[in-house]
């Protein structure tokens, strides 16, 4: 995140994204329930910024990433592609007016007539900007701008294609340049990710995991994208090689102003990579903040537990740790109210009944938890908060879990 007053343009503006996977059962394979993989996720991705998306396995991280590329169609919600600043502020105010629909009401069908106008206007904006309203042809063009690097470098490269074919395939699909230009681009891409140009005549099995992942990155870069989903790009790699890949990703971002959605369950990696972090639990966002405040002063009990669970490679450092009991509940039958209340160490009676709203508790620090009922109170106080947190890390330390 570039922290100099002026905000960089938004690449993707994700609003109320939901994905319910049907559970089929019964006599005729009718729909007997839903797995609420993603249940109302909203955030913005700015140009040149890395958003870290963290959470335990099965919390919906990967589903979000894939929906942003339309590899999975969402059940409802939108991702607005490059809204102008005016559209962006209009979107914010319109979504502010919408009544908070609980997950039971789902697709925004039960909306009062008063907000009918809001819904209509949103619909118009969606028709113009939302990824999910693009025609197949428009979408195909856009796909060059939105790319993905997959988790497993061993299964994401075709074993029967030469590296040069793997890298030039996206260029051919998008009719980019002449044959000679494409060949030149392949060489350039290999150099970008720190491989030798002669590697283009090899097959994927001749490379180690780290090298394959770099080929995956080069393939994602081929069409000069604006936004790349990195779906656990280093979890299959060794630490020494992981550092190589992370450094390449950082360098490419600086060179090409790429926006990343960095999906990972490895929080130390996210801390090293991300500018802002979104913490998900069971399909919903529980906390969202810039990286430093999130790691130094996590607010949500889940984030605190997640952070304290990470082992630190320093034998002299002994910490109090919050050990969460039990496993993540099934997303097919999520707990009522706050979804974390079954494992929360600070659970209150209200937690099992009311779903906590997402509130801006500190400047640019959003959290959905009943422990923080106020948010930023008034506009004047908000101004003060903003002034106080100019240099980011000097914000007053009130709560610290680590």
């Amino acid at each position: 995140m570039i922290s100099d007053g002026t905000e960089p343009p938004v690449v993707l503006s994700v609003r109320n994204l939901r994905k319910y996977f049907p559970i089929r059962g019964g006599f005729f394979g009718t729909r007997v329930g839903d797995v609420r993989a993603v249940d109302g996720v909203s955030f913005d991705i700015f140009e040149g910024e890395t958003i870290g998306l963290v959470g335990e396995s099965g919390c919906g991280k990967t589903t979000v990433g894939r929906m942003l590329l339309r590899l999975i169609e969402p059940t409802s919600g939108h991702a607005y592609y490059r809204p102008t600043p005016e559209v962006q502020s209009r979107l914010n105010s319109l979504y502010g007016q919408l009544p908070r629909t609980t997950s039971e009401e789902g697709n925004g069908k039960a909306i009062s007539p008063a907000s009918q106008k809001t819904v209509e206007e949103l619909d118009q904006l969606a028709a113009e900007y939302s990824l999910y309203r693009k025609s197949p042809r428009a979408m195909r063009k856009l796909r060059g701008k939105l790319q993905i690097v997959f988790q497993d470098p061993f299964s994401s490269l075709s074993p029967r294609m030469l590296i040069k074919d793997i890298l030039s395939e996206p260029l051919e699909v998008h009719h980019a340049g002449s044959r000679a230009q494409r060949a030149a681009r392949v060489t350039e891409l290999l150099k970008d990710v720190g491989l030798n140009p002669e590697h283009e005549w090899r097959f994927p099995h001749e490379f180690s995991g780290g090298q394959r992942q770099r080929i995956g990155i080069a393939r994602a870069l081929a069409l000069r994208p604006e936004f790349i989903v990195l779906d656990e790009p280093t979890s299959a790699l060794d630490v020494s090689v992981q550092a190589q890949v992370l450094n390449i990703l950082k360098r490419l971002q600086a060179d090409q102003r790429l926006a990343y959605l960095f999906i990972s369950h490895h929080l130390s990696v996210v801390r090293a990579m991300a500018h802002r972090v979104v913490v998900m639990y069971l399909g919903v966002v529980v906390e969202m903040a810039e990286t430093d405040p999130l790691f130094t002063q996590p607010l949500h009990p889940y984030t605190q537990a997640l952070l304290s669970a990470i082992p630190i490679p320093d034998p002299d450092l002994k910490r109090e740790r919050v050990v969460l009991q039990g496993d993540v509940p099934s997303p097919a039958a999520p707990p009522s109210g706050c979804r974390f209340h079954t494992r929360c160490p600070a659970v209150m009676p209200v937690c099992s009944q009311v779903d906590p709203p997402m509130l801006e508790v500190r400047h640019r620090h959003w959290v959905a938890c009943h422990l923080y009922p106020e948010g930023i109170r008034t506009a004047s106080e908000r101004g003060v908060a903003e002034a106080a947190s100019g240099p980011r890390s000097e914000a007053p330390l009130t709560a610290s879990a680590t």
């Binding site: 335990e56 396995s57 180690s208 995991g209 780290g210 090298q211 060794d238 630490v239 020494s240 090689v241 992981q242 550092a243 190589q244 992370l246 450094n247 369950h265 490895h266 929080l267 130390s268 990696v269 801390r271 090293a272 990579m273 990286t291 430093d292 790691f295 537990a305 997640l306 952070l307 304290s308 669970a309 990470i310 082992p311 630190i312 490679p313 320093d314 034998p315 002299d316 450092l317 740790r321 050990v323 969460l324 009991q325 039990g326 496993d327 993540v328 680590t402």
Partner: protein, 522 residues
């Protein structure tokens, strides 16, 4: 001396000079014979695990961590793998005794490849011998709990089998000594019914334990607790159910006879295990004693052939299997599983990875082993579950006093739980020492690189350094120090000679030419 490999010149078999070591591995070489060539997965690995301590074995993928673990319990699949030479001493027993007789090697021309002739009878004998060590003395937690469990048996059945095998004699003795009709039982039962009415978990638990103690069967206490939990508000039903639970330890003559038969079988097995262990300790064959015991067991089975009839078996065996089931529930409680009764009745596919890993831990600790080999126990798990498992392992170390060999690629996990650490690279240990010492002052350039490449939560601004290149191919590994192609300080000598292990501080040894401390004798 068991190794028939004459290229290994070492003097008399090393006695356990240092009593603090429970496991001592010396110059272990494990090769895999593949069509591409001989993979020298382990090439002279030497280390020790101290009694009651956790030793970490850390390194990148393919450096031979897991092969070391499998070699110690001799679980290397043969073919293609083979332990070539070395010495593994576990509490005075030579695990690799007789290794040299198990296979012969004939070089094929000068291709560098060999023809291996395995003597499968010898290998089978070694396997039988190892069964006296595996599970009861050294148990293993495997990396993938989903693949380590059998999908067609319930969790309870699988754990029962382990329990019967390792603790069967005590279990049967306790079952035979049960006193369901002692006067104290009635009183304890009444107390339990009162406690159940109060509904306080702790009270129910204490009362249930007393109930079990009165009947002289602890497992009955576990059972009574879950019955009481389920029927808190219905005292009549609770009374009925408690009566029924007592019935399961009221044994008839036939059942007692069956239990005594089982006990005799287990006793013979126990004696056989002792013979196997003494074979490995004395390094000589006790074939006569072994055969006699085998024949005894065979005769016993033959004269009680009717126990094999399924109908008879289920009738006479039900008392034992129910006893085992409730003991399994107790075990699962020990690894903090919330609803052990349902879990014990369930099958592996119904559980999440973290739960299964805990079941695996319960299974491997049920025999109270002297050494636990944990092969990447938390790699497949989420951080929150990992924290639970590490907590559990630390707790077991202090409670049971088990020595742990913890294998992982995650240095942070090592820092959290281990006492000593060995850093492996390409089939060799390149640095070892106490955790605090190695982390504070890593000496080998590889250890330094490894530590510098971890992204750290507590030092976010740190530049991530990477080690250039990747792990070498072990079919034709680099000459000399195997790290030299990636080493920033490589010198000419590194290419030619394998650096010796030198002492560079209290118990801190390193194999690198940058250091010139006193050489550790191999």
């Amino acid at each position: 001396m068991g190794t028939g490999d004459s290229t290994e010149p070492y003097s008399s078999p090393m006695a356990l000079s240092d009593d603090s070591a429970i496991l001592r591995v010396r110059e272990l070489r494990t090769y895999f014979y593949t069509y591409d060539g001989v993979v020298k997965a382990l090439d002279g690995v030497t280390f020790a695990v101290r009694r009651g301590q956790t030793t970490g074995l850390v390194g990148e993928t393919g450096c031979g961590k897991s092969v070391t673990a499998f070699s110690i319990t001799r679980l290397i699949a043969d073919p293609p793998g083979r332990i070539m030479s070395g010495e593994i001493m576990f509490r005075g027993a030579d695990i690799l005794w007789g290794l040299g007789d198990e296979a012969k090697y004939f070089p094929i021309g000068d291709t560098g490849r060999v023809k291996v002739k395995r003597k499968f009878r010898r290998i089978k004998a070694a396997n039988e011998r190892m069964s006296s060590v595996r599970g009861r003395a050294i148990s293993t937690i495997f990396q993938e709990p989903t693949q380590a469990m059998n999908p067609v048996f319930s969790i309870g059945d699988q754990l029962s089998e382990v329990l019967l095998l390792h603790r069967g004699i005590t279990i049967i003795d306790e079952l035979l000594a049960a006193s369901p009709d002692a006067p104290a039982v009635g009183r304890a039962g009444a107390d339990l019914i009162d406690a159940a009415r109060s509904g306080v978990r702790q009270e129910i638990q204490d009362a249930a334990r007393k109930f079990g103690a009165a009947a002289r069967t602890p497992s009955l206490g576990t059972q009574a607790f879950y019955i009481a939990r389920a029927t808190t508000s219905r005292p009549d039903q609770l009374r009925r159910e408690l009566g029924k639970s007592l019935n399961r330890v009221r044994l008839g003559g036939t059942v007692r006879r069956y239990l005594r038969y089982q006990r005799r079988l287990l006793e013979i097995q126990e004696k056989l295990n002792k013979v196997y262990l003494s074979e490995m300790t004395d390094r000589e064959s006790h074939a006569v004693a072994r055969l006699r015991l085998r024949r005894q067991a065979g005769q016993l089975r033959l004269t009680h052939l009717y126990y094999r009839v399924p109908f008879v078996r289920s009738r006479v065996g039900s008392a034992l299997s129910r006893e085992l089931f409730w003991r399994v529930v107790g075990l699962l409680e020990g690894v903090s599983i919330a609803n052990p009764v349902q879990i014990a009745r369930g099958y592996p596919h119904e559980l999440s990875g973290g739960m299964l890993q805990r079941v695996m831990i319960a299974m491997s600790l049920s025999s109270e082993p002297d050494l636990l080999i944990a092969d990447e126990p938390t790699t497949a798990l989420d951080v929150t579950i990992q924290a639970q498992i590490l907590e559990l392992m630390r707790d077991l170390k202090t409670r049971v006093g088990t020595a742990i060999l913890l294998i992982t690629h995650d240095l942070a996990v090592i820092a959290e739980v281990a006492d000593d650490v060995c850093v492996m690279y390409a089939g060799r240990i390149i640095e070892q020492g106490p955790v605090a010492e190695v982390f504070r002052r890593p000496l080998h350039p590889y250890s330094q690189g490894l530590l510098a490449s971890i992204p750290r939560l507590d030092q976010p601004s740190k530049e991530l350094k990477s080690i250039p290149g990747s792990v070498p191919n072990l079919i034709s590994p680099p000459t000399g120090c195997r790290f030299h192609p990636r080493c920033p300080y490589a010198m000419p000598i590194c290419k030619q000679e394998v650096p010796p292990m030198t002492t560079e501080g209290p118990q801190h040894t390193v194999a690198c030419y940058l250091y010139q401390g006193p050489v550790v004798p191999p």
